[in-house]
């Protein structure tokens, strides 16, 4: 269907954990064009010294209300500006962008693994999946979105690095402890986590879809700034650069060159 550009209108923008905000944006053209969970949008900061859009995953889409929900962490200038947006403020948005998670197969036992700001896109995914959904989430300190996952019927495990909530440790520790039935794994989060999960899945012969993150400029497939290495016959070493924004962000873990 292609990406749209529109002036979204902020419906709400609330802090839900330390430095973490949940924002609902009314953006009818974009909301009606979302095809797959795991797609993202670009939010354009308003202050003129910040010129690049910020890619943020679609956390939930409500086609009746024509809203997109995003959950984002304030880490710098752009997300700092987003945190100041108030109800009825306008914000330029483009999207939906990218190839999200493939849910067209007939798998029944789904494992969703999220870390930090990789958690949000898994929420829309968990809503759309048919079958049993187990969600394993890792946070540094303070978990968020847990009730949202539970509301849609997922079984949720939480790990925190500090051990303040859930079990102390990381998502892999949970996977090793618990005996979860899995036909297909889906994941989004920091690269080391994705890499470890990919190895674990390979050992167990479980297919895994991973959502990658790269520094982006255009966010719409133009600048070739955001590439990642995907296995194929593209060059003599058996890989080629793919655009994380529009060829991804979701790839099969087995297709990704992890060695960096």
């Amino acid at each position: 269907m292609g990406a749209k550009l529109e002036n979204g209108v902020v419906i709400s923008n609330d802090q839900i954990a330390k430095d973490i905000y949940s924002m609902f944006i009314k953006a009818p053209n974009i909301a009606n064009s979302v095809e797959m969970p795991g797609q993202f949008i670009n939010l354009y900061p308003k202050e003129k010294h910040t010129i690049l859009p910020r890619p943020i995953s679609i956390c939930e889409v409500d086609s009746k209300e024509e809203t997109i929900r995003v959950v984002y962490q304030v880490v710098g200038d752009g997300t700092g500006q987003f945190a100041k947006l108030k109800r009825e403020d306008e914000i330029q948005v483009s999207g939906p962008i990218g190839n999200g998670f493939d849910i067209s197969g007939d798998h029944r036992e789904h494992l969703l693994v999220g870390g930090g700001v990789g958690v949000p896109p898994l929420l829309e995914l968990s809503k759309r999946l048919k079958g049993n959904v187990t969600v394993v989430l890792g946070f540094r300190d303070e978990p968020y979105l847990i009730e949202d996952f539970e509301k849609y019927g997922a079984k949720v495990y939480v790990a925190t690095e500090s051990g303040k909530h859930g079990s102390k440790g990381n998502v892999l520790d949970i996977l090793k402890q618990e005996d979860i039935k899995i036909d297909m794994a889906y994941s989004c989060g920091p690269k080391p986590m994705l890499k470890a999960l990919n190895s674990w899945c390979q050992e167990k012969d479980i297919p895994v879809q991973v959502s990658l993150e790269e520094r982006m400029a255009c966010g719409i497939g133009v600048c070739v700034g955001c590439v990642c290495k995907k296995k194929d016959s593209g060059n003599k070493d058996g890989w080629s650069y793919k655009k994380t924004c529009t060829d991804g962000p979701v790839f099969m873990g087995s297709d990704v060159i992890w060695d960096e």
Binding site: G2, A3, K4, L5, Y44, K48, H49, T50, I51, L52, P53, Q92, S94, E214, R215, M216, A217, C218, G219, I220, G221, V222, C223, V224, G225, C226, V227, C228, N235, Y241, T246, E260
Partner: protein
């Protein structure tokens, strides 16, 4: 749009319906067709194409700076054969002029590309002489008047379409380079390409770009670009495509006042995917407000 305005401009014998073109490397026709009608553009300048595919640099390749950005894409491109087969047919249907930006590591590389383009419907060639040249030890062709003249002369001898040479701003004397290129037979000039910049992440204590240094573009660099367009327009009698930080129609008018005949929109298209169209409309508003009927009238109105 106002019927009484004539936005068309002539660049080396090719008529663009308006002065708005897309800066090389910042515009992909299919992607932007999602947001605009390409036939509204004066011309599309495609990203740098080499004789063979280039893989480009490792990531991170891009970074934001204060009012600008850095890129070290490393001219990743699929090569001229792929371009002719896959991208050109799409562009031919887009209803705008096709300008191909050419990358090369040796003079032979460049010549091979323009020869392959000679039999196509490409309207104009834009020679990027900021590329690192391998034969002369990595120094860009664009940083010495002799090298710039040499590559221009040879590529011109092999090309059918008019040849615009795109200059690097990272030189002591831009006028000297422009004059050398003009004498060597260039049919027009584009300026400016990116400055060279660097950003260090004070938290990770590492250069943000994998390549450490990269091309610096965006509104931050506009004063350098306007200055160079002005200096070259005073000294060289060739059509000029001006670019470097154009964000608004008034920025476009500023370049035209400085001496540009057409302009390109680069980084602005990342900040706003409809930038080219918005800039065109703002330029029309500016012309109406000041009573200009043609682009030439803006240029002639410069009072120094």
């Amino acid at each position: 749009m106002n019927n009484k305005l004539d936005l068309s401009v002539d660049i080396a014998g090719v008529t663009l319906k308006n002065p708005i073109t897309t800066a090389s490397g910042t515009f992909a026709p299919r992607e932007f067709a999602q947001f605009m009608d390409l036939s509204e553009l004066g011309g599309v300048i495609v990203k740098g194409i080499a004789n063979v595919p280039w893989e480009g640099n490792p990531t991170p390749r891009v970074a934001e700076t204060y009012g600008g950005m850095l890129n070290a894409v490393g001219l990743q491109n699929p090569g001229v054969d792929y371009f002719i087969e896959h991208d050109l047919p799409y562009l031919e249907k887009s209803g705008t002029k096709i300008i191909v930006n050419i990358a090369g590591r040796t003079i032979e590389d460049y010549c091979e590309v323009v020869e392959k383009l000679a039999d196509t419907n490409v309207d104009l060639l834009e020679l990027n002489i900021s590329c690192p040249n391998v034969k002369e030890g990595g120094i860009g062709f664009g940083t010495s008047p002799e090298m710039a003249a040499k590559v221009t002369r040879e590529v011109k001898a092999h090309s059918r379409q008019p040849l615009i040479v795109k200059l690097s701003p990272n030189v002591t004397d831009i006028v000297e380079i422009a004059q050398a290129v003009a004498e060597a037979g260039a049919d027009g000039l584009s300026l400016i390409n990116t400055l060279v910049g660097m950003k260090i992440d004070v938290n990770s204590k590492k250069a943000v770009l994998a390549n450490k240094i990269g091309g610096f573009s965006g509104p931050a660099i506009k004063p350098v670009a306007v200055r160079m367009v002005y200096q070259v327009a005073q000294a060289v009698d060739l059509p000029i495509i001006g670019l470097g930080g154009i964000m608004t129609g008034e920025d476009a008018a500023e370049f035209i006042l400085a001496g540009a005949d057409a302009i390109s929109v680069g980084t602005a298209s990342f900040a706003n995917p409809r930038a080219c169209i918005d800039i065109k409309e703002e330029l029309i508003n500016y012309m109406n407000k000041h009573g200009f009927k043609t682009i030439k009238e803006i240029q002639d109105a410069f009072k120094g």
